[in-house]
Amino acid sequence: MKRYLLATVIFCSALVWGCKENNTTAPDLGFIEVNPRTAAVTIPYDDFVSGFQVYGGYGSAADFGRGVVALDFAGANVRALMKIEDLPTSADVVGSDGVSRTDSDLSFVGGRVVLSFDTIDGTLNVPVGIEVFGVVEEWHGPTATWDVAVDTAGDRRDWTQLGGGALNSLGAGTYAAFSDQQFDPELPLLDTLSISVDSAAVAGFLNPGGGSTGFLLAATFSGTSVNVVDLKLVLNTVPSTQPDTVVELSVGTDDVTFIIEGVPPAPVGWLRVGGTPSWRSVISLTIPSTVDGTVDLCGAVGCQVDLREVDLNLAELVLTTRQPQSGFQPQDTTVLDLRRVLNPELLPKSPLGSVLLPAATIVPPALFSTDVGAEVSFTVTRFVREVLEVAAETGSVPDASLVLLSLLEPSDIGFASFAGSGGVGAPELRLLFTVANEVGLP
């Protein structure tokens, strides 16, 4: 009996597990009784924005970790500032007996500055003239700008001359990334440039009273721009123990930044995001609790739809691109982030909320040059839903502020620019919501 039962159980179990559930999904034959209607409404600027502010100064060019050199490149003039490590005072020299000895009586007879370039970004298809200057005024990397050499707490000093102060030219050269490929297309792009400096310039660096505070690199060909990723000062020295020998000593950099000519002041009437140092735009919102219903929802008579009672499917903040000032158009994609301002009274230093966007918004540079006037939308469904939930509980819609910022600050000399209040292209809030009857019994 037990065997029979076991066989039956196995048979029935196989029957059950082998039979997959497959629901009929018939076409709608009139059984979707809830009358669902999804409506899209666009709330104009004046109905949901109570104001906006643009704040600058987030981050520093020194955070880039590389120098930028440009001359009248899309209108921008940029110079790189670099400090070098301490100069060597001795060298290990191998004598004729093959033994290495430290020689601290060195005679410097000249040298060269070796620049390494980024071979991805910049005007690599044309030769770029580079001039190397010695900087004699004291400067502070994180705060130096075209106008100001030092801007720390209680200490602000302008350059005696804009753009790096009084400068001593040390030498010049031309960087041509494709020069080697003219002879052999298989060769990689050239990424270094060596500029010779004479012994007098080297002596200036060595003399503590010489006042040298670093190098300034400037472009000499108009319309060019390159990124300098590294600078090395290679010194030629003659040791006292081996006067017929020239020894090369390499000195690296320990402070790199760049200064930009003519950074525009904070805009009035439009939004700015990104740049170096970075800009942020804060939009203060007062989302209406009701909007005009569509014909689908209200018929021809019209009605007001209470947003606190609908199911929100999508909320987008829609901005329209505009052309930034000359010289400050983004050269690369701008990656934008949107967050809630947690304490607007503390702006520009208010803490920010968590990421609102499902993914960072990537805006191509063309939208700020050839394709200005394009719409860029930011998904704020979760944010608007939270605001409306609070409104449903309290009876009034709370004010809230959002900040639009670059995901990396800074990430580009250029900045994103969007139309502001009034007129064509002013920010809009696009909502998509669904209204349906309650699910009931037939």
Binding site: C12, T24, T25, F31, N313
Partner: protein
Amino acid sequence: MMNRSLLLALVMIVPSPVSGQSVLGSSGLGLRIEPLDAVQRALGGVGVATRTPTILPGNAIASLDILAPTVAFTVQPHWGTYEVDSEQGDFSATRFPVLGFAYPLGTNGVVTVTAGSRFDQNWSVESQDSVDVGGQRVGLTDTFLSDGAVATIQVGWARRWSTTLAMGTTLGVNRGGLTRTFTRSFETTVDSVPLVSPVEGFTSTGRWHHSGPLASLNLAWDPSSVLQVGATVAWSGRIKLNPAEGTDGMSRGVSAPIEFKVSTTAVLSPTLAVNAGAATSNWTDLGEPGLDAASGGRVTTFGAGVEWEVTNFWAGGFPLRAGFRRSQLPFRFLNNKVKENTVSFGFSVIMAQALGLPLAALDLAVEVGSRDAGSFKERFRRLTVSVRVGGQ
């Protein structure tokens, strides 16, 4: 050991959900799923006792000839296709329409505990559309999913009053639950390009519980040695549909009608019997205007079959069965009455028997059928396997 094996059998079977998949279940209380075992299915029966002792919800007399405490369960996979206008599709599922236990009280009485299916409300429909989002047409899909069922739990008692007359009764409750969900979901791409701003979907759900009493009276009479007559009157009280917490709306009640069933078996020879039966109930005036509009009015079921014990196999006889059945369903679909027709074939394998009566058996029925409601047509195949196991 026997009890442990039975427990194992139940544990392995019960966890799968009870569900049916016909969109016909969208009407009224759902698609009627009669609690019939493989013997009834094979003979085109209507749920009244036949020659084979078995356990049937709502009919305690069917278990009178059971010699030992017996557990029975029925597994019913089915596969089907539907067609409405130019649309067509398929469905499949497994149901468990009968689960029961019978305990003999001497040789003339029995008590039963049964669980049986009654209505299936498992169906879904969907439609597609699109909506303009910032100048782009974003596709959307509306789905309405109904997931639920009404089942019965009954306790029965039957007694043989003479060699030709037996009477029984059952008492029980209708129990069930229903979840209806509407979902609007939006495409995440437009022309295969992912949307920058994904559109979140919309969902609305309602939940209800079913409850209500039911009872039946059963009669079996053998007017002659070749003729057996059985009858059942099944009464159902008001089936209440109470909204679950979080669901708006009032409680509703459906006055399900009394159902009359009669069946007769003619034993033409010791190995050959013919069975015929009919059932009728009037589904008008259910007390709910919404359901009255979908009422199928008076619905009737006819069925007939033949059983031929052709040989012996394993521990007992090997009855072959064939039958047909024609029935109307209680609720209209798209304003059309729903008719179901089946032809069936089946057999039993007796795994153990005593005194000529089976202690353990496996019954099997295969049905091929159709349901029609105007332009809506379903074709289905239904396999029913019942297992009866008894012992001390």
